[in-house]
Symmetry: D3
Subunit: 314 residues, 6 copies
């Protein structure tokens, strides 16, 4: 059983993999074949089943776990698997699709515990009550949803993982800069991307909801906070409420990135900066993860199209 | 009694004027004087009272109407009044400050009637109820507030004047393009700048409120619509609600102008375009209003720093 | 006889279609085939003739009307026609290629009448004479040419259709803003894109002429006006001539869009704005025309790469 | 008799100078004084006449040559002349204002001879005839007008000086790159700024004409060439005519600098580049002309706000 | 003895202050006066000595400590001191100018100790040796120089203060992201601004050196590292040397901010981000330091011209 | 024996060509074939060997000279060769690969002589010694390396060819502008791209070295000059050394093109401008080289995506 990231060029292998996507195509000569993307926790690889008979088309659908014997080769410079022998995994074999998807490196229980410990540290009543109210509403989704469709943290549980890493950064930075209001930092970080739970349709093959498309998650979290305040009887001119909404609305940092207002208090600026910091760390990590030391990565569009070097020295 | 726009260079004049602003300054040689800006419906002009004794300082305050005799001259190329004789207007004289401020060229009753006629044309129930609810809440402010602090429509009643001119444009354009949903156009135009009533402190010497500064009028109108929908029992995923919010949120057209989302339906794009059209017409009108035919205006910063020509031919 | 926009996936159909373009290609295995794009008034669709014998190559040329029986399927997510049976349309069948091309939704006679009525409203003699002179010169082309190669109004008669829609907008807007000189608005709108008749080679498979490429239609209309003025004995410093040329030269609004000068009179700015308005309406219309309600369009490059939503409600 | 560039700080001097500009101002305390800018061939310096009696106001007007005794000092870091004794120059003294204005460092006769020699080298008939025709029309202005209002070559004769320096560059560069069409280079350079003669009002205290403002010199030279071609019977689709117009229209290099089209032939690109080269050389020269070695200049706005260093070594 | 930040409007005060700068100016009426900027640890304030006799000019020079009695007032909205009585501080009074300058809030001994502790943690030999070598060369300047001329950390000791705050951030962030090479982070942070010691002339009234102007501190630190490597016998193709130079060269993050190369390893990106973080914290801190709660600051040019709000709540 | 640029469409030909690159690919049906790019001095053309047996794969490798008989045809609008008969060139045939590569149009001996003559003209001792020292170090590479990977002068010897063309321009321009320091111009031009010898791996199939990627050639030449100065005992604050380094560091003209500093002396600005001039001439030359008169080229990305016209007239 070989993991995808360990497959060697020119060698045959076998193992269990998840069919991530499959498409029925025709060769120029008019013959049907199946173009399949295989996946496990360590990566993805493509291959074609040239004999796309009816049974094959019916069996090999996205979401199915299969046993595959095949040869890894290069096609136009990109790895693919050829000479494929494929069958569905049986019930006695490891056929749970969840085991093959990339997901958050930390388990949910630990994340929940850490989030709770941070909520305790939010001393301001307005912020504490609003955070609790919204966390409760999205109790399930917050730990399942990705933080993005593509780019960074685009995996199951990515939203909570991204948020908690930012909470750690916020804790550290408040130690260096005691002038920062740590309660506001924590409340702002916890909620900043929460409305991704409304913007996305779910955690598998996610896409945008209609309100995600027409309003966006920044407006949607502001709506949630406004409504929570209304329900909790918090006045709409109260300074602490305005400060929290300001941090959430401005967390993209620049108008051209979709914030309707730019950060105008220290905590808003810092929440924006640690959001960028974690997003860029995750993207650089992903870009260089499968490189050999001494190699450069592909260009990363969301990081100004830079490519990144993986040093040989430790 | 001479209007400010009719004052002749090098000639003495007298009349009643409003003190728009006044500042106590010192000459380099350490002597106090009052730097005053005078105003009537037709414009403003500056002048200095060199003998700033206590009585003068006390009497000549912003908001007071005065009788002035003076000489109009140029100082470094800018008109100012010199050799000023000043006294407060008495009760038997025209001393109502409201009569000296620039204001909307249409009277409030006509505006109210027109707005009502448009509300009747909003056929969709969600939009109609939300518009009525919010119009009611800002019933007074909508007809008093300016549409902007500086730039365009920065006068009492400017908000309603700008909004109703845009409604006229919307009506006309819906005749040319029947594919536009006129109900949505009307609802969107009516509400697009309504939260200026929350963003500004009032209609005299207006400045930004705290929520105006930290959230901005685009976010504030979205909050009002969300709350109105909650109170009216309109579901937060209803398409017509989302479309209206989308039109309001995107009406600045570009992210860099403070919209968190760009127009993605026809009506949103058109509301944005007629907003720009009326703002630019008003700014060009203001820039060229006091020019002689054949002259160029000052540069208008908000119109890409262009200056505008007033033709000689009609 | 099924229109292209009504073809159903997975179903056989037959009907008459125009060959819009055809290319002789080779499979990787070295076999010739014909890649054809079929067209009718409602859209286009592609398909391949795998047996590209000499007779086929000779018969099936661009501009020919054919009778086709075929099956609509998807190839890599894009619709195409397969299992094609093809023959030329006979003289007794509907074989006039003009009937299969997209064209202006209004007929030429109505457009001509409307244009004439507007010319009557141009009261200034200079503008009236120049407009008549140039309209006469391009009497045929103005009603045949497209308004653009791709983007908006890229169909036969598109130039006149775009121009007359703008004239309607100009009429309406002059009602809202009586300070606009309607004669100048009409003259400017009528001529603004007229030199597309010199910039493009024609209305079928149009491309750029050499002077279109090296000078562009803005410079070319300025040349036409200058020459007309010379012939009509209108002095080159006359203000009304300069104003008209200014409106034409500045109608792209910004230097970076190819205007050598930015709008500096009200009418020039408004002509630019209604040009943008009609172009964007037409592009949004085209982008959403074939969508189901509730769907988003493809991204539209010329509208800042936005995609547009077609609402479910009316 | 001391030249302005040789005046020493803290020393009295006397000599003849031209009054470049004069303004009647008031001190804050209400007293009239004259603010004068004095000029000779080597520079300008400012000073105030504190006793602005009627006679002084009448005598000391712009364009008058005066005899001045004064002291050079610094005022807020800028040189000015104080303790001024002033009288008009008499007829027996050097009172010709032309002798005090900055002007082209080469004399007109030499420039004319050089321009003629270049015209002889334009071998293509179309270009040669058009150049001769336009040179003849602007025979006087071409040698008198400046090349710009401010920035570079803003002095009498500056247009011809700038043009002939560019011709020298064109000659040299055609030696390095024989693939360039030298006739087109020469014709393009000779005409590129010629319509400054229509854009500016003259060579003293120049400002923009109405057509300069509303059309600009790029459009105006295109008009001149089009009309010359019409008169000379050169067809408006002839390639050589189009190439010349293309070079002239594109000589600002970028759309945002006012060219309606970008250079698309080699010669157009090179004319643009040598135009930039000569303009930047002249601006750097001016910026550093009066510096001591080892000093940095003021920032030069038209050169991206850079400041320039004058080295100590030769 | 009142600190400048505690001076009350409209009240007389007395105390010792440093003359930060002084200029001899003339009133428009020709009378000399001294324009002085006074300073202590808490801020600066301006005032004029209207009787600028010879003795005053001689005594009151920049760098002198004076005893002042005066009245704090507003002049055109800006605080200044009037009715000044001034004398030099005597030897028995607190006349050490160092005591009046703003400086780093941490003392030098603590900073030195902390820096040493970090150097011990740089485990890679190349980096450790280069850091020691350069720290030794700038042993004195590193603890005296400011980090910038204006903007952030523009005070004595600012360079070391900024660097050590960044070191703290680096330590914390390496805890959150163990994949970062902490030795490289520390070496990069320690050296990143070190060449400010070559770019600036010193720590009082600092300006740019010639090499500061012509090369800049990024190039200068690269030169220092290259030379140190040459002296220490470290090959110029060694990967660890290249990585360190890359971090230093890219620490401005973007080419347009003067880095000749953008960050292409994780550590370079993170050094850039914590540099921005500390600079923006310091600028926001400075901008809001003297505000009342509930006020907005002036606009901060280096933070995209934003102004910052100081909340009322803690 | 036909040169590639002279091959006619639809005709068989034969001759000797170099295999520039070769790739083993599979048809969609799974059959191996060789995709080969053939090259001679005049251009490149592609073709496929459909029978990729073991012997073929072994023989036909990049760098081999072959004898080919084949037919030139179009495939999707691009020229390719079909019906290929291929064999390796024998020892008695023209099989030296160097004879088939594009290279500098001037021979190395002439270039060396010209470079020497220029070195003699560098009168300043610092510059002369540094230039000699660095020229000596890169004596071989300077005449072999390309000036760029793609874009302009991307051929063997391109670096020296580009440099010497710029030297010719520098000589000419110093004649027009005697105020330029020709010694500095020559030294700057000679060294400006010299570190491409360190940035690239070589002159065949060149790629970037690690230091090329992480530091770039601008930083690398600055390192070379600094070290040369150290070895030659030239002080690091000497003005002439700083001026030369400034010219080299700023030769890309703008920060966003990778210069850490912008040109701030005349010579630096001029070196930048003639660098741009030669690069753009070479790119326009390349783009239009194989066009028929009257055609437009492909768009050239590095010239703002313009396409260029090749006139019909000479």
């Amino acid at each position: 059983m070989v993991l995808i990231k360990n497959l060697e060029l020119g060698e045959f292998f076998e193992g269990f993999y998840l069919i991530k996507s499959v498409e029925l195509r025709q060769t120029r000569a008019g013959k049907d074949y199946l173009a399949i993307s295989f996946q496990d926790r360590t990566g993805t690889i493509s291959g074609n089943i040239w004999d796309a008979n009816n049974k094959a088309v019916e069996q090999f659908r996205a979401g199915k776990v299969v046993h595959m014997k095949a040869l890894k080769e290069l096609y136009n410079g990109m790895p693919q698997v050829n000479k494929i022998q494929l069958r569905l995994a049986t019930d006695s074999e490891p056929n749970n699709s969840k085991d093959y998807r990339e997901k958050s490196p930390v388990n949910e229980a630990d994340l929940r515990e850490y989030v709770q410990s941070i909520v305790f540290k939010i001393e301001n009543g307005t912020w504490n009550r609003i955070v609790r109210s919204i966390l409760k509403k999205f109790d399930k989704e917050f730990y399942e949803f990705p933080a993005a469709k593509t780019n960074h943290h685009a995996f199951e549980g990515g939203l909570a993982y991204h948020t908690t890493t930012m909470l750690q950064l916020a804790e550290k930075i408040c130690e260096v800069y005691p002038q920062l209001n740590s309660s506001l930092m924590f409340a702002g970080v916890l909620l900043h991307d929460m409305a991704k739970c409304l913007e996305f349709t779910g955690f598998e093959n996610t896409s945008y909801t209609l309100r995600g498309n027409l309003l966006g998650h920044i407006v949607l979290i502001d709506e949630e906070v406004s409504k929570a305040a209304l329900e909790l009887g918090i006045g709409d001119e109260k300074e602490d409420l305005l400060l929290l909404r300001h941090c959430l609305l401005s967390h993209h940092g620049e108008l051209e990135y979709g914030s309707p207002i730019r950060p105008q208090i220290m905590e808003a600026e810092m929440i924006h900066q640690i959001d960028m910091m974690d997003a860029s760390m995750m993207m650089m990590e992903t870009a260089t993860a499968n490189l050999e030391p001494g190699q450069f990565s592909q260009r990363v569009w969301a990081l100004d199209n830079r490519n990144f070097y993986k040093p040989k020295i430790d």
